[in-house]
Amino acid sequence: MTMENVALEVKDLKTFFHTEDGVVKAVDGVSFNVNKGETVAIVGESGCGKSVTSFSILRLIKAPGKIEEGSIIFENKDLTKIKESQMRDVRGNDISMIFQEPLTSLNPVFKVGDQIAETILLHQDVDKKEAKKKSIELLKKVGIGRAEQIFNSYPHSLSGGMRQRVMIAMALSCNPKILIADEPTTALDVSIQAQILTLMLDLKKEFGTSIILITHDLGVVAEMADKVIVMYAGQVVEESDVFTLFKNPKHPYTKGLLESTPKVHELEDELKSIPGSVPSASNWPKGCRFYSRCSMRLNHCNDNAPELLGDENHIVRCWLQNEEVVKQSEYAK
């Protein structure tokens, strides 16, 4: 794995929200790499910080939220440090994003075609006519028949699936190097979900785009991803290639997730069945954040926060990986 192969490098990212009830440490030291042409899946329960991580990459975090620490390296630039005007050149052009909410993510008062064309006009040196032509081609590419007609429609007249296709067309309009898809199918019908995912796979093959795919759904992960990052309570708890993770999960949380997914192809299944709840993000426990729900916890885990351990292909944040600790500590009740 050489550096030239890395498309994006997130290092020790911390994004906090300064609310009236205290500092919400939504993303608390997340690191990962995305290689060129690779699909990286980020999985984890609701509220674990997946969206905040992805918004941080494009610097879409609004006050009271703030990127506190860490760096996000893209083409030798640190996205957390560059000027806003430089960031605008990256957004929609080099890195683009599809959101969790297809129904509300398009502007209701503009024709969908014009919204795609706007992105093209912002980043490419073409005239309006050319931008329109390209937009219609993109609409066809994402599987929309009657593309000329749809170009002139307003979002409210399209279904959720259609709108998400339009969002994908818009996100791909400038051939981005990285596409961030934040639960692109969660809000859609099951039948549409599969179509959208297939579409993304096809487009990835065609353009060689790296994809960061955020999902609740391990079925989707198995089908789409090369690499998987499991997040829990604002941190990465396990990371490995997709085969290793499914065959040999090491973190008790990951194991729990896999057990709660009966079949890989059941797209509806969500990660809910581990008993207990996530501690509060404004007051993380001192020790392991999974302690209160872990069935294999050691006494040691309650007071000591585990670090990520392992080799470059498989890392895990769990004391069970440390033989010394396992030898010395008892299983807790």
Partner: protein
């Protein structure tokens, strides 16, 4: 569209009938119209004669019938004060009032839209606090007081603008500012709250993620969504505008509908009062219809069927 317009126009008929009804009863509510028309020492016989000449001795419903048929022909009777048909007198005043209302609305919009937008994007900043304070003040400040202050400052101290009458653009300046300020206060507040809500929307985040520049983000992606509420607000302010016009016209001796109406009320000139109310009501109805049609232009989600 044509079908919708026809339907809306048909809906106006019952509203008009209702207004006619109210206007008709206004006379009886104020007192005996015959007694109003004759000098206080008139003989009983003269009173009776006039009463039957005016068909006022017939049943109410019949009288209402006469009234409606007169109104349809534009006949509200003669003004006591001017001794002429009331409607032409009222209509003659209409253009001045419409001009005042129009310029005031322009001033209000010119203040409210930038002020509202700026205080929304600079939420909780000193600017926002200033704008909010100003709009509270503008709402609390009585129009006549502001009018008098403006007369003092610009007419009496600096002597740069005429303080009464009409005919030139200069005459419009102070009354329009007076009325426009009153209307802009409420409008600023509503533009601000609408923009605040819009800036939280997902499509704004989408626009940022595409690399849209700040000005285009706020005006194109943001404010265009606020247009429908802003138009609604503008037309909702018409009642403020009309009532404000009454006061403003009196303060500046501006010869419009408001001044005429105030004079007519104090002189109990019923024909003028009736005609003026009728004309104002029709004006408000037509403006509301216009507002509905404008929504369609600015919001593709609104369909007429």
């Amino acid at each position: 569209m044509a079908k919708y317009l026809r339907k809306r126009l048909l809906e106006i008929i019952p509203v008009l009938l209702f207004i006619t009804f109210i206007v008709f009863f206004l006379v009886f509510w104020v007192g005996d119209p015959v007694a109003l028309m004759l000098p206080e020492d008139a003989k009983q016989e003269d009173i009776e004669n006039l009463r039957s000449a005016l068909k006022l001795d017939e049943p109410m419903l019949v009288q209402f019938g006469y009234f409606v048929s007169n109104v349809v022909q534009g006949d509200f009777g003669k003004s006591f004060r001017y001794g002429e048909d009331a409607l032409p007198i009222v209509l003659e005043r209409l253009p001045s009032t419409l001009t005042l209302a129009f310029t005031s609305m322009i001033i209000a919009v010119l203040i409210a839209i930038p002020a509202g937008i700026i205080s929304a994007i600079r939420r909780n900043s000193a600017t926002d606090v200033f704008v909010t304070g100003f709009s509270i003040l503008g709402k609390a400040m009585p129009s006549f007081w502001l009018g008098i202050m403006l007369i003092l400052i610009f007419g009496v101290i600096f002597k740069i603008l005429p303080v009464s009458g009409n005919g030139t653009w200069a005459h419009l300046v102070l009354p329009s500012i007076t009325l426009g300020t009153a209307v802009s206060a409420e409008m600023t507040r509503l533009v601000r709250s609408n923009m605040l809500a819009i800036l939280q929307q997902d499509y704004i985040r989408t626009a940022i993620s595409k690399g849209v520049k700040p000005l285009s983000l706020i005006l194109k992606h943001g404010f265009k969504n606020a247009l429908v509420p802003v138009i609604t607000i503008m037309f909702l302010q018409i009642s403020t505008l009309v009532s404000g016009a009454l006061v403003t016209e009196v303060v500046f001796a501006y010869p419009g509908l408001g001044q005429l109406l105030v004079q007519a009320v104090s002189g109990r000139d019923m024909a003028i009062i009736q005609a003026a109310i009728f004309v104002v009501a029709i004006m408000v109805i037509l403006l509301n219809l216009l507002a509905d049609l404008l929504y369609k232009v600015f919001d593709p989600r609104i369909k007429y069927n």
